[in-house]
């Protein structure tokens, strides 16, 4: 039966990408001086998983690279090598290349084999560094490792036998390379020449050696590679060789030299049906089938490792191999395992979160949201019909509709929450950005992130990543000073970039702050003049700072390849605006800069207040509305330029008469007959004059641009319960308009 493996590729790509992302995050978190064992294990496991799956699905390039990566990680987590910064660099780089390779397999871009080979070589070199002889640490390692990780047996291996086969190059053979190799091997252990070229060949030809040694294979592999540098060599462990008690399972007769993975399976004991041990195939059986696992002779080197952990739970365990010498070591594990076995889950939330989710295509979710949107409209329509019937509506119908409204709202919230993702999905990429960039720029920067669990719409998550990356790069490049400049300015040499996300009303607010030099006001003004912009010294700081969002604006003295190419901030602002958001700058010379990005919580649904103006209904986003009041005669003052203000709680607010803005005939004859709705749009307050308040609804946002065109003062449209289209007001724009009207007056 042929099974089409390509059907599993997509899942493989996704899970590998997740493993790579997890690996990168863990690597960045690692404390070099004192790496956490659990983290090292998790990193190892990520590489290991990719390798396993990649091999299975035939992505040999991925499998090979992860194999080398895994080897090095394995040695580090076993404390055979000490973790160094250059290793982390190599790991991160390898992760990047693996990502590129994954992408290439998915038909996006291509991977560069020479870069892959280079990183593999670097990893190999790091891995072949001398061992750290640490017999004392072995015990500690055992404590920290999860049960079952092969530790002692592989850490302090007994002697192993290797079958070495090679054909030396003619040059090295004639230069006595083989003799040197044999001398080298003699120093490592017992060498037996199984086969060699005829005497007259000068050493050129096929060599087959058997080496029994305690040193790692890598140690002599390099030497052999040197004399047979055309790659004509292989080393295989000779499984028929038994050292520390392994001889008990004498079923490993294998053809010498066969690569282990090619064989890969065998039987420890005869099967009832098949008396023969099957070699050369990739699997094996430890015990006769249909029989309980029988007692196994404990070979101390193997059994002593933390296996006692399950013994206290299952005193009647059938295998004496469970009896343990070093029970104290495994006690913490026992406690956890015991309670887990008894059904009390003590699982780390992080470990569970990835597993308790399902993958659903975004189209399905969007379709669901659309349907719920329609349901909301229908429900609102029913409610409106019932309210028109007033007393004639049967009570049960009214109650049922009220229930339906609650259900709909709950359903809508649940469905919307499917689309919500924590912003950590975006934030998680920045430690790497900051690390790489600060190294490149010779700056010392610490990245602090706050509010990573703040959720926002998936659509926004994807689109906010690039603008935020740009803001961070900008802070790093232009904001944070070089260490010596910082010290000279009396600051810590290490700069801080703070990324903070939070909910504020109906918005997500993301701040990118740095404690750098602040924006250079004079430089910006000079630059603006050079570019022919209308500027003056009287401009306020915010106005000056906003100039950096103009197209092609860069104040960098030198164009760096980090930023400062003069493209960017205008693009950043445009991107954020198309998401319905805004970006603001605050900056203090010498103390730092803070960019604040405000985004709507979601793109699809809005809590709105509907107001009547003339014969039209408009929707005000509820999050902007502070209060509503009926003005008394005399509350409203008219300024010299016809702009009106109203005094509300001691504050003069600009008045915007919506019927004037939209050119409608008001129902209310004068201001005292209508309602003033006080709004606060990003700190700008204004009073909107409307004829009446209609009600409060959740509305499904329908893009006006997509269906008609962009209209100033209108952000979108919606369909009301009665089927009419109502426009949703862009209150920021309207408030801004009101403010500038009043200021012109002043």
């Amino acid at each position: 039966m042929a099974i089409d493996m390509t059907q599993f590729y997509q899942v493989f790509f996704e899970e590998s990408a997740e493993h790579l992302a997890a690996m990168e995050a863990l690597l960045l978190e690692l404390d070099l001086a004192n790496p956490d064992s659990e983290q090292l294990n998790a990193i190892f496991r990520a590489a290991h998983s990719i390798k396993g799956s990649a091999g299975t699905f035939g992505f040999t390039d991925l499998a090979e690279t992860t194999h080398i990566l895994e080897n090095l990680l394995d040695r580090i987590r076993k404390h055979e090598l000490v973790l160094r910064a250059d290793m982390v660099d190599a790991f991160l780089e390898a992760g990047d290349l693996l990502r590129v390779m994954l992408e290439a397999h998915q038909g996006r871009g291509s991977s560069d084999p020479s870069a892959v080979e280079a990183i593999c070589e670097r990893l190999r070199q790091l891995s072949s560094a001398p061992d750290v002889p640490a017999p004392q640490t072995a015990a500690i390692v055992t404590v920290q490792e999860p049960p079952g990780v092969p530790s002692k047996a592989s850490e302090s291996p007994g002697k192993r036998a290797y079958i070495i086969e090679f054909v030396p190059t003619e040059i090295s053979a004639r230069a006595g390379g083989v003799a040197n190799l044999l001398d080298d091997l003699h120093t490592m252990g017992e060498v037996e020449i199984l086969s060699q070229p005829a005497a007259g060949a000068g050493g050129v030809g096929f060599w087959q050696l058997r080496l029994i040694t305690a040193v790692a294979e890598q140690t002599f592999a390099d030497t052999i590679d040197f004399i047979a540098d055309n790659g004509a060599w292989r080393i295989a462990e000779d499984k028929s060789f038994a050292d520390n008690g392994m001889a008990a399972f004498g079923f490993f007769e294998s053809s010498p030299g066969a690569p282990e993975d090619d064989r890969g399976y065998g039987f420890f004991a005869p099967l009832p049906a098949t008396d023969l041990v099957e070699d050369g195939d990739g699997y094996g059986f430890f015990a006769p089938l249909n029989a309980p696992p029988t007692a196994v002779d404990s070979s101390p080197g193997v059994d002593g490792e933390g296996y006692g952990l399950f013994e206290p739970i299952v005193p009647a365990a059938p295998s004496p191999a469970l009896v343990e010498q070093n029970v104290p070591v495994s006690i913490p594990v026992v406690a956890q395992a015991a309670s887990e076995v008894q059904g009390t889950k003590i699982a780390s939330p992080a470990a569970v979160s990835g597993d308790s989710s399902i993958r659903v295509s975004i189209e399905k979710v969007d379709q669901l949201i659309n349907l719920v949107g329609e349901l909301v409209i229908t429900q609102a329509m029913l409610l409106q019909t019932a309210s028109r019937m007033e007393a004639q509506a049967p009570e049960r119908l009214v109650n049922g509709l009220a229930q339906l409204e609650r259900n709909t709202r709950d359903l809508q919230e649940s469905v919307m929450s499917i689309r919500m993702m924590p912003i950590s999905f975006v934030f998680s990429r920045f430690p790497r950005v900051v690390r790489d960039l600060s190294a490149k720029l010779g700056k010392q920067v610490e990245l602090k992130t706050l509010g990573e669990s703040t959720e926002l719409d998936r659509g926004l998550i994807e689109r906010i990543a690039d603008p935020l990356t740009h803001l961070i790069r900008n802070s790093l490049d232009h904001g944070i000073e070089l260490p010596e400049q910082r010290v000279a300015a009396g600051k810590s040499p290490v700069g801080t970039i703070t990324l903070k996300a939070s909910h504020q009303g109906g918005n997500i607010v993301i701040e990118v702050g740095d404690d750098g030099a602040g924006l250079p006001r004079d430089k910006i003004l000079t630059k603006a003049r050079e570019r022919g912009l209308a500027v003056s010294e009287q401009m306020s700081d915010p106005e000056v700072f906003n100039l950096i969002f103009e197209a092609g604006f860069s104040t960098a003295d030198q164009v760096t390849d980090v930023s400062g190419r003069g493209v960017g901030m205008d693009v950043v602002r445009r991107n954020i605006q198309t998401m319905g958001g805004r970006v603001e700058i605050e900056s203090t010379a010498g103390a730092g800069t803070r960019m604040t990005v405000r985004l709507p919580l979601t793109l699809a649904i809005l809590d709105g207040m509907s107001v009547a103006v003339g014969d039209q209904t408009y929707i005000l986003p509820l999050s902007y509305v502070i209060e509503s009041l009926q003005p008394a005669p005399g509350d409203i003052k008219t300024l010299s330029n016809q702009a009106r203000v109203i005094q509300v709680r001691g504050e003069y607010l600009p008045v915007v008469a919506l019927h004037e803005v939209f050119n409608l005939k008001p129902l209310a004859g004068d201001f005292t007959q209508g309602i003033m709705v006080v709004i606060d749009a990003d700190g700008i307050k204004a009073a909107l004059f409307v004829d009446a308040l209609v009600g409060q609804h959740q509305v499904v946002i329908k893009s006006l641009e997509a269906n008609y065109r962009r209209v100033a003062g209108i952000s979108a449209a919606t369909i009301m319960g009665d089927g009419h289209v109502a426009l949703i007001l862009d209150l920021s724009a309207i408030a801004g308009m009101a403010k500038s009207n009043v200021q012109k007056a002043g």
Binding site: M1, I3, F8, R45, F267, Y283, E340
Partner: protein, 121 residues
């Protein structure tokens, strides 16, 4: 009735492949995402064969095998380890834990069916 196989692996793609392969060979398959999950699913019973990965979060393959072997209903159920590590140390640990046998990754679907057939027919 088709025999049920419990497939424990933290890799979704491997799980999917194993599951698909065994199902197309006529077995029922229950999937578990790690050792702990495997244990939970094993408790439900009705499992004729357990296939488990070694390297998994929360509870690894050897731990799972040990625990299962301690449960009377799994005292003699065949358990195969699917592992990328085929060192002697690994095998002897697997054997000590009570595994019935091992299968080295990467493996192809045919090999998997072949081995499973050998064990539970």
């Amino acid at each position: 009735m088709a025999k049920t196989i419990l497939a424990v692996d933290d890799s979704a793609s491997i799980r999917q492949m194993v599951s698909f392969t065994l199902k197309s060979a006529g077995y029922e398959v229950v999937e578990a995402v790690d050792g702990m999950d495997g244990l939970e699913k094993a408790k439900a019973g009705g499992v004729s064969l357990v296939l488990t990965d070694q390297n998994m979060p929360r509870l690894d393959g050897l731990g799972l095998i040990k625990t299962l072997r301690g449960m009377p209903q799994y005292a003699s159920t065949p358990i195969l380890m699917l592992t990328t590590e085929s060192s002697d140390a690994m095998k002897s640990q697997g054997r000590a834990a009570g595994a019935t046998g091992w299968l080295v990754k990467p493996f192809d679907p045919q090999k998997l069916i072949e081995v499973v057939r050998k064990v539970i027919g």
